[in-house]
C-alpha cells in the first residue's frame, strides 16, 4: 500500500516535470497574452485539484461522522492540508498572472474572492484542529467544521458573483487552443497523483502518531474476588 502511494507520487512528480516542460518550452505562446499565459499550465491544474481535494475532505468528514473510524480522520487531515496548500498556491499564481495581464495584483472578482474565502475557511479548520489536543474531539470537530465550510463555498460563490455583478465582469481567459490542452492535462494528472500521494502519506503519519491502539498489559488484580 505504502509503495503504491509512493509510486503514484513519483509518477506525479515526473509528470509535473514533463507537463511543465511542455507548457514552458514546447507549447506556442498564446495570441494575446503571449508567454505569460504559460502560468495557466500550473494554475488551472492547481485550481482543479485543490477543489477536488476539498471535496475529498468533505467526503472523508462525512465518512468519519458516519463510521467513527480513525482512518477517515487520518485522511481528512491529509486532504485538508493539501487543499489549503493548493489554495494558497492558487492565490499566489493568480496574483502573478493578474499583475501581468490586468496590471494589478488583486481584484475582487468572483473566482479570486471565492478562492480566497475557501482558503480562509479551510485554514480555519486546520487552526481549530491545532488548538484541540484530545483526538476524539479533534476528529469530530474538524469533520463538522469541514462539512460546514464546504457547504459555505457555493453560497460564497453566488454571493460574490451577484455582489460584484453591478460593477464589472472580468474577462475570462480565451478558450483554450488544442495544443495547450496537452500540457494542461499532463499537469492536472500530475497534481492529482501528487495530491493522492501526499494525502496517503499524511494519513499514515497521523495514524502513527495516534499512539498505541492496544491498551497496556492487564495487571493482576489483588485481593478477594467478587464477594
Amino acid at each position: 500500500m505504502r509503495n503504491v502511494a509512493t509510486g503514484i507520487g513519483l509518477l506525479g512528480i515526473l509528470l509535473l516535470l514533463v507537463g511543465s516542460y511542455v507548457g514552458l518550452f514546447v507549447a506556442p505562446p498564446e495570441r494575446h497574452m503571449g508567454d505569460v499565459q504559460r502560468i495557466m499550465y500550473v494554475h488551472v491544474p492547481t485550481a482543479w485539484i485543490g477543489l477536488l481535494c476539498s471535496t475529498f475532505a468533505m467526503i472523508f468528514a462525512v465518512a468519519y461522522l458516519w463510521t467513527g473510524r480513525n482512518r477517515w480522520d487520518d485522511r481528512l487531515v491529509g486532504a485538508l492540508e493539501i487543499s489549503v496548500i493548493l489554495g494558497g498556491l492558487l492565490l499566489v499564481q493568480g496574483m502573478l498572472w493578474g499583475r501581468v495581464t490586468w496590471g494589478i495584483w488583486w481584484t475582487w472578482d468572483v473566482r479570486l474572492t471565492t478562492s480566497l474565502i475557501m482558503f480562509l475557511l479551510f485554514a480555519g479548520v486546520l487552526a481549530l484542529r491545532s488548538f484541540v489536543e484530545e483526538p476524539l474531539r479533534r476528529a469530530t470537530w474538524s469533520s463538522v467544521a469541514t462539512i460546514i465550510a464546504y457547504v459555505d463555498v457555493p453560497l460564497v460563490y453566488f454571493c460574490v458573483r451577484w455582489f460584484r455583478s453591478l460593477h464589472q465582469v472580468q474577462s475570462s481567459p480565451e478558450t483554450v487552443h488544442s495544443s495547450m490542452i496537452i500540457p494542461l492535462r499532463i499537469n492536472a494528472f500530475a497534481m492529482l497523483f501528487i495530491a493522492i500521494w501526499l494525502i496517503a502519506w499524511r494519513a499514515r503519519i497521523e495514524s502513527k502518531s495516534r499512539g498505541a491502539e492496544r491498551p497496556p498489559e492487564r495487571i493482576e488484580i489483588q485481593g478477594a474476588q467478587n464477594g
Binding site: I117, F131, V132, L136, A145, D152, F158, W162
Partner: protein, 226 residues
Amino acid sequence: MSTFQQTLFVARKDLLLGWRARTRTLAVALFGMVTLVLFSFAVAADGEVGVSAAAGFLIVALLLSSILSLEESFRLETEDRALEGLLLLPVDPVAIFYGKAIANFVLLVLLGPVLLPLTAIFFSLELDGANLLGMALLWLLAAAGIAAPGTLYASMTSRVTGRDVVLPLLLFPLTLPILMAGVRSFDLILRGDAMSQLKGWTLLLAAFDLVYWVLCGALFSRTLEE
C-alpha cells in the same frame, strides 16, 4: 417534556441569564456603537459615500459584537460545567442547541434598536416607515444567519484554549454571504431598488439561514462527544 418545550425552556434560561448580566449585554451593544464610530472616522464617510458605506459598517458592527455575545453565552456554560449538568439530564441535545441558538439570535436582534438608529444619525440616512420595516426584516435574517453557526462554533471553541482567536477565525469567513447580502440589500433599501434585486438578496439570506439552522442543529450533538 417534548423536545420543543425543552428548546423553549433552554432559550428562556439563556435569556434570563442574559437579563441577569444585563450590564454585560449592554456593554456588547456599547462595543457595537464604538465600532461604528471607529468606522466613520477610519473611512471619512460623508454625504453620498456615507450612505453607501453605512450598510457595510452596520453589518460589520453586528458581526464583531456577535463574537462577544456568543463567547459570553458559552462562558456561562463552561464556568462550572453547567452544560454538562444539562447533558446528564434526559434532554435531547438538539433542544439544547436550538434553545441556545434562539437565545443568541434574540440577543443579536436586540443590538438592532441600538445600532440602527445610531447608524442613521451618524451617516444621515433617510428612514421612514416602509424602509424601516424592510431593514428590520433583513436584520432578523442576518442575526439568524450568525446565530446558528455562531452557537455551534462557540460551543466548540469555548472548550479549547485560545478560543478568542479561533471563533472569529472560523465564523467570519463563514458569514461572508451574510455580510454581502446584508450590505447589498440595506443599500438597495436606502438608495432605491432600480433593478428590483432586493427580493433575490432577501431570498439568498433566507436560504443561507435555512441551510445553517438545519445543518448546525444536525451536527451539534456530535461535537459534544469526548
